[in-house]
Amino acid sequence: MYREARFLPAGESALVVEFGARIDPALNDQVRALDRALAANPIAGVVETVPTYRSLMVHFDPRLLSTAALVERIRSFEAEAPIEEKPPRHWLIPVCYEPPYAEDLSEVAAALGLSAPRVAELHAGATYRVYMYGFAPGYVFLGGLPVELAISRRPQPRPPVPAGSLLIAGGQALIAGISMPTGWYNLGCTPTILFDWKRDPPASIDIGDTVQFEPVEAAQFATLQQAAAQGRTVARQKA
């Protein structure tokens, strides 16, 4: 099952198990399968794992484990049956694509030669797969952005976007977990609190889940935001 993986050291305390170099659901499935296998068969000395698009990073304590011993243990999983995954969930997430929640929408529309409503329509019309978290707390990386919305990163970062911003750049899409400066473009914002580090677990969405966005009007945003702040879930899950 992991026969084709490459084992690449990231110093003496981390190992990259790489299944490929592309953004590809099949590669990401292999990453998640190994992640589950490591969770089900804990190896003494492994501190934590970080699933990404196409590889799993395994952080470990070199006092308890060497790179070679870790590679050998992971190879031994090949013989074992894959661990069943819990079924992925499908999320319907409300998003406002209107001012003041869509700060960069018209800039993106102008750059791509599309109208602003068309950009919103394309973004809201796609189904996204959740590949990984990364960059900053609660930043969810999504695959499935329509090719018409491929725009390169900004040459310089823009001022911080609010938490819940829907960002695009480099042919990728993400949801911002916290307010941070970014080199991406902000198309809209969700009132849903998808990430809160004071919650356990801090993130609602799992890697492997799918996501769709439901446009809401600016007038509705404040109401939904209030509900979310009171702990009510404003994103829906579909079977």
Partner: protein, 327 residues
């Protein structure tokens, strides 16, 4: 609780750190933790604290001035980066364990070398645990005091802790400046660079141009990519040497993001990351490639040496107050 340490003056860059926030990288949460783990652990171990779990103050080039607002004396230890420390105005060296009495002040100023010092207290600081750690990550506002750098007037709560020891000077060799090359394990994307780029990286001197807790930027010969500089994002570990479009090394430090999209030529080994962290802008270093087993052996040797900190304590003669001692 015996009271608190009050920050009279917080120089830029002072934060609360412990061994770091582990287990949450998969949600994008930065590990944080000390920039120089050797000095951080040394300060804790000099007091008999847990080497990693006890939270301490990390002090940057702005230095610090603290006031002992407790009802009973407390044990403190400081070291790292050759800072100059004073108790009530009297010099107390650059690395020591002291019994600080109520009403006394302790100040630190940068000395001849280094940029990070640590001030540990007996039992550790009692700030809140957030996501399993007291370490501060200022960019995401997690840990420490409200997730920020320390400010004038902050009160640092303490656990009840005794001082079953005398005052001592810490004379540990790993706290001295050391110009030896910084050792690097190649990978995971060393195949994005040709032999000429690798020779340039390991053959020349690099100068630190800018740095913060997230990353150190170095300047030297250009490190050219052979296969472009955009990769599909993968994991980032402490010490990753990222080469972006500007062909300059960016070394990811304690506040590194968990993932990134630039090729990583190699990783600075753990045994040497604290030494790199103590470089000042304008100072230079060289890099030396080593195998992963050699890196592991170096880490274990360094770790064992630091764990034996108690062997490097020399009693101070005129405790608790002694005048005129120079660093």
């Amino acid at each position: 609780m015996p009271g608190a340490l009050r920050i009279l003056r917080a120089g830029f860059g002072a934060t609360i750190q412990d061994g770091g926030r582990h287990g949450q990288l998969r949600y994008g949460i930065t590990p944080a933790g000390p920039m120089d783990w050797r000095a951080f652990r040394t300060a804790n171990l000099a007091l008999g604290n847990h080497a990693e779990r006890a939270a301490a103050v990390e002090i940057g080039v702005g230095g610090i001035e603290v006031f002992c607002a407790t009802t009973t004396p407390i044990g403190v230890a400081f070291c790292g980066g050759g800072f100059s420390w004073r108790r009530d105005g009297r010099q107390v060296g650059c690395a020591a364990r002291l019994i600080l009495r109520p009403g006394e002040t302790l100040t630190a100023h940068p000395g001849r070398h280094g940029v990070f010092a640590y001030l540990a207290v007996s039992g550790g600081l009692a700030t809140p645990v957030e996501l399993g750690s007291r370490a501060t990550h200022t960019r995401s506002g997690i840990g420490g005091i409200d997730g920020r750098m320390l400010r004038d007037g902050d009160l640092l709560p303490l656990f009840a802790g005794g001082w079953p020891f005398g005052e001592a000077r810490i004379s540990a060799p790993w706290l001295d400046g050391d110009p030896a090359p910084v050792r690097v394990v190649l990978g995971p994307q060393d195949d994005y660079f040709g032999a000429a780029a690798l020779n340039a990286f390991f053959g020349a001197e690099f100068r630190l141009t800018a740095g913060d807790r997230m990353a150190y930027r170095l300047e030297g010969p250009e490190i050219a990519h052979e296969r472009g500089f955009n990769i599909v994002s993968d994991g980032i570990a402490l010490g990753a040497i990222q080469i972006a479009g500007d062909r300059k090394p960016l070394i990811l430090m304690a506040d590194h993001p968990p993932t990134g999209g630039y090729p990583k030529l190699g990783h600075v080994i753990r045994a040497d990351i604290g030494r790199l962290a103590q470089l000042r802008p304008g100072e230079t270093c060289r890099f030396l490639p080593v195998g992963v087993e050699e890196a592991r052996a170096a880490w274990l040797a360094c770790e064992n040496a630091v764990a034996a900190t108690s062997r490097h304590l020399r009693p101070l003669q005129s405790a608790p107050h002694f005048g005129g001692r120079s660093p």
